[in-house]
């Protein structure tokens, strides 16, 4: 299996007591080094922790509780840094974001019953977005399972539809390998969340069984290389095409194929559109970049997708927020679909050229097979024309309050190219997609498929630990979304995390309000508040630094001050409560008929 296909679990290096000459002083001691001194396992819980150590796990996020206590007790002696979160939902989002930014499965833990059910939203989120993550849940002792014992929930039953795989651990001798297997599955092939349910008797039980390296079960196979004949057919199609478009999805980033797809697009001068999870796979300041397509994608991306004759789609599942109505999605295009999951091919959009395999491997196969670039000078000129026809330029009238687009651009300007952006869900998330110029993979961390309000701030905590120290972490939040997981501020303060939160505060469940205005005659049922907390003061109460912005002239300086503060800071940015997100394709609509104003809906 190629390294790019997925994130192969970190295998421990062979223990060597004498450091070799190649080893530089900067190198951190590896898990294996520390393990040389660690004691053999004696219980199931110790083997669970040992399995995590074998996998190279550095961080875990969770909340304590009765049924998981044996595992926490074993963690007490481990070098794994555990972050106690305020709520298990926060733990699952933090682990998810850690996985997105680092490429290694993030780890979250919870006790049985309510602990496990609180993880569920984050697990479902990771499942929809194919994020590598492993959840370890406590369970009541095996002999009480099925008796409705205190804090018993059928956790494997609840999570079967929202995990890539889950395991109910049966034996103390095997539980370490169960965890290793779940870890390996989370990161191999198409990534996804896995879960191991850990009955208390299994973790307390004695064992001397040292878990092996993480490995996937024998029944799990991943196809790396695409069928050569189909590659050749696809190559001919690309050569003959006169209106080609590349559509890059999240799979490009997860597969580590960014370099390969960029080289391919640039070599053959093919305009590039991304999906929302694909943001960062192609530099948005490049001439070929058409940016994001779909419901709130740019007009030019949607025009390019609608009118292309050949769509080279990589690592995307053609979600309905991307396609709009299936009938009108790229209706003139023959589709070349590269994906590591065979079940995504022709699930929603029929692929004339199904290429199953690892994104980077298959793009290289294609690169080799394509003999000349498509003749698409006219098409490229057309795409540039659309970029100017449907420019994203917005107005800032003097008599209207601060525009959110301006704030997003100011944040982008004040930070480096490698800054990481996390978001909640709603209008602010869309402005963060549209008005920040992403150039690097793994810098956009958001809840795409599930659309989970409350994702943004705990995700920033996970991202912070996975990021390099010189990467800024910016949470662009909505007032409604932030209120759902704001308690995690206590964690960021306690752990002294440098995170800057910008709440695009419209004192509204804004996205819902926008839909009510468009589709429910402006009846604002349960979308407006008559009171909203002051987020700057709330931040201060948590021990974070609070700021407030009311007007344009405060934007740059306040952002600067918040960024300079070495710790969590929250800027309560009071934006125009009436601002709407455009362009917009209504659900099930025709991407080419995107609305630029409300009366076009």
């Amino acid at each position: 299996m190629s390294e790019r296909a997925s994130v192969p679990p970190k295998t421990a290096e062979p223990t060597d007591d004498q450091p070799t000459d190649e080893r530089t002083n900067e190198e951190q001691p590896t898990a294996a080094d520390t393990r040389a001194e660690t004691k053999p396992v004696t219980t199931g819980a110790e083997s669970v922790v040992r399995a995590l150590e074998n996998a190279g796990v550095e961080y875990a996020f969770g909340v304590q509780g009765g049924a998981i206590m044996p595992v926490y007790d074993a963690l007490y002696d481990s070098d794994i840094h555990h972050i106690t979160m305020a709520h298990e939902q926060g733990a699952s989002h933090a682990a998810d974001a850690y996985g997105i930014v680092s490429g290694e499965p993030g780890v979250c833990l919870a006790t049985s019953g309510p602990g496990a059910t609180n993880l569920v939203t984050g697990i479902a989120d990771a499942d929809m977005d194919s994020d590598p993550m492993i959840a370890l849940t406590g369970q009541v002792p095996t002999d009480m399972v099925g008796n409705d014992a205190f804090q018993e929930t059928d956790t494997t039953g609840v999570t079967t539809p929202i995990t890539k795989a889950n395991i109910f651990a049966n034996e103390s001798d095997r539980v370490g390998d169960d965890v290793g297997e779940a870890f390996a599955l989370a990161g191999t092939g198409r990534p996804g969340p896995t879960l191991v349910d850990l009955p208390k008797d299994v973790t307390l039980g004695e064992t001397e069984q040292e878990p092996g390296e993480p490995r996937t079960p024998d029944t799990y196979t991943v196809q790396e290389r695409a069928d050569e004949a189909t590659v050749r057919r696809a190559a001919r199609r690309i050569e003959e095409s006169s209106k080609p478009v590349m559509l890059l999805g999240g799979g490009v980033i997860k597969g580590g194929a960014t370099e390969e797809v960029r080289a391919f697009a640039i070599e053959h001068d093919i305009p590039v559109v991304t999906t929302m999870p694909g943001i960062g796979s192609f530099p948005e300041d490049h001439e070929l970049a058409m940016e994001m397509a779909g419901m709130h994608g740019t007009g030019y991306a949607n025009m390019a997708v609608t009118h292309c004759d050949t769509l080279i789609a990589v690592g995307t599942r053609f979600d309905d927020r991307l396609t709009g109505g299936i009938e009108t999605f790229a209706p003139d295009a023959e589709v070349i679909h590269i994906d590591i999951d065979p079940a995504e091919i022709s699930k929603n959009i029929h692929a004339e050229y199904p290429l199953i395999g690892d994104a980077a491997t298959v793009i290289e196969q294609l690169a080799e097979a394509v003999e000349h670039s498509p003749q698409a000078t006219k098409w490229r000129a057309q795409c540039q024309q659309w970029k100017s026809d449907y420019s994203m330029a917005y107005k800032t009238p003097d008599d209207e309050p601060l525009k959110p687009e301006f704030v997003v651009e100011a944040l982008d300007e004040a930070t480096s190219d490698r800054a990481i952006v996390t978001t909640g869900v709603g209008q602010h998330q869309m402005w963060a997609c549209q008005y920040w110029t992403y150039t690097e993979p793994r810098t956009w961390v958001s809840s795409h498929g599930l659309g989970t309000m409350g994702y943004g701030f705990p995700a920033a905590i996970g991202a912070r630990l996975a990021a390099d120290d010189d990467q800024e972490v910016i949470a662009i939040e909505g007032d409604g979304s932030f209120l759902m997981t704001i308690q995690e501020l206590s964690v960021a303060v306690r752990e002294e995390m440098d995170i800057t939160v910008a709440v695009l505060n419209n004192e509204y469940i804004g996205m819902v309000r926008q839909w009510q205005d468009a589709f429910f005659e402006g009846r604002h049922s349960a979308s407006e508040y008559n009171w909203c907390p002051e987020f700057d003061k709330l931040a201060e109460a948590f021990g974070a630094r609070g700021f407030r912005i009311n007007d344009y002239d405060e934007v740059a300086d306040t952002i600067q001050a918040a960024l300079e503060y070495d710790g969590p800071s929250v800027i309560d940015v009071h934006i125009d409560p009436h601002a709407n997100v455009y362009p917009m394709v209504p659900s099930g609509g025709d991407n080419g008929q995107f609305a630029l104003t409300e009366d076009q809906l």
Binding site: I326, Q514, Y582
Partner: protein
């Protein structure tokens, strides 16, 4: 409300000529025939472990696949079980079912059986025994066996393809049917053809589907 962008209105924009159907397949907008559903048998070899059956049935209900019957039982190998599914779906739907089944970790191999595969079902039919001779005659006609008889009832076991069982039940109905229990279809491929075996990821994802003839039962 505020915001909004400039640019040509939807009416002013060029429109593409093509269209897709609801399955995402490009079509001639003028002439589109509906995609027929067809009934077919899918066999899955799975690890014999708790939870597999609920994984499979959960997958079918969650993804709204039309399933007619599902049977499960042990195989020649202790650690393995065979699940036989009769489904009714369009060609793309059947492809999805196979691919989604293969994604389940305990699933070892999945195959759609050829239309000529052997398919059998067992039914127990309990009828009123007011006319025992006639009941026996009907049972005989369908190769059925009387497995239980009481002064008021007779229970007959019938084995065969689905249509045969349907026909038998129809014939028994003249006596007044008290209860029926059917197993659902189980199946094996013919001759040396493999049903779904270890190591053989039978039909390839890229191979064109050859089973275009609607499968009729035997």
């Amino acid at each position: 409300m505020t915001g909004g962008l400039e640019g040509p209105t939807p009416e002013e924009r060029p429109k593409p000529a093509g269209r897709r159907n609801e399955l995402g397949i490009r079509i001639d907008p003028e002439a589109e025939a509906a995609r027929p559903h067809r009934r077919t048998v899918i066999s899955a070899l799975v690890a014999h472990e708790p939870g597999v059956l609920s994984d499979v049935s959960g997958l079918f209900s969650r993804r709204q696949f039309n399933i007619e019957s599902l049977t499960v039982g042990p195989t020649e190998t202790d650690e393995q079980a065979r699940i036989t599914l009769v489904v009714e779906e369009s060609d793309p739907g059947i492809e999805q079912i196979k691919k989604q089944l293969r994604k389940l970790i305990p699933v070892i191999s999945v195959r759609e059986l050829d239309p000529d595969a052997m398919r059998r079902e067992l039914a127990l039919v309990k009828v009123n025994a007011t006319r025992p001779d006639q009941v026996a005659a009907v049972a005989d006609m369908y190769g059925g066996k009387t497995v239980d008889a009481s002064p008021e009832t007779a229970t007959i076991e019938v084995t065969g393809a689905r249509q045969k069982i349907d026909a038998a039940i129809e014939a028994f109905s003249q006596f007044g049917i008290r209860e029926i229990s059917r197993t659902g279809t189980t199946a094996l491929a013919r001759g040396t053809d493999d049903t779904a075996t270890e190591g053989a990821q039978a039909d390839d994802y890229q191979s064109e589907n050859t089973h275009t003839v609607p499968a009729d039962d035997d």
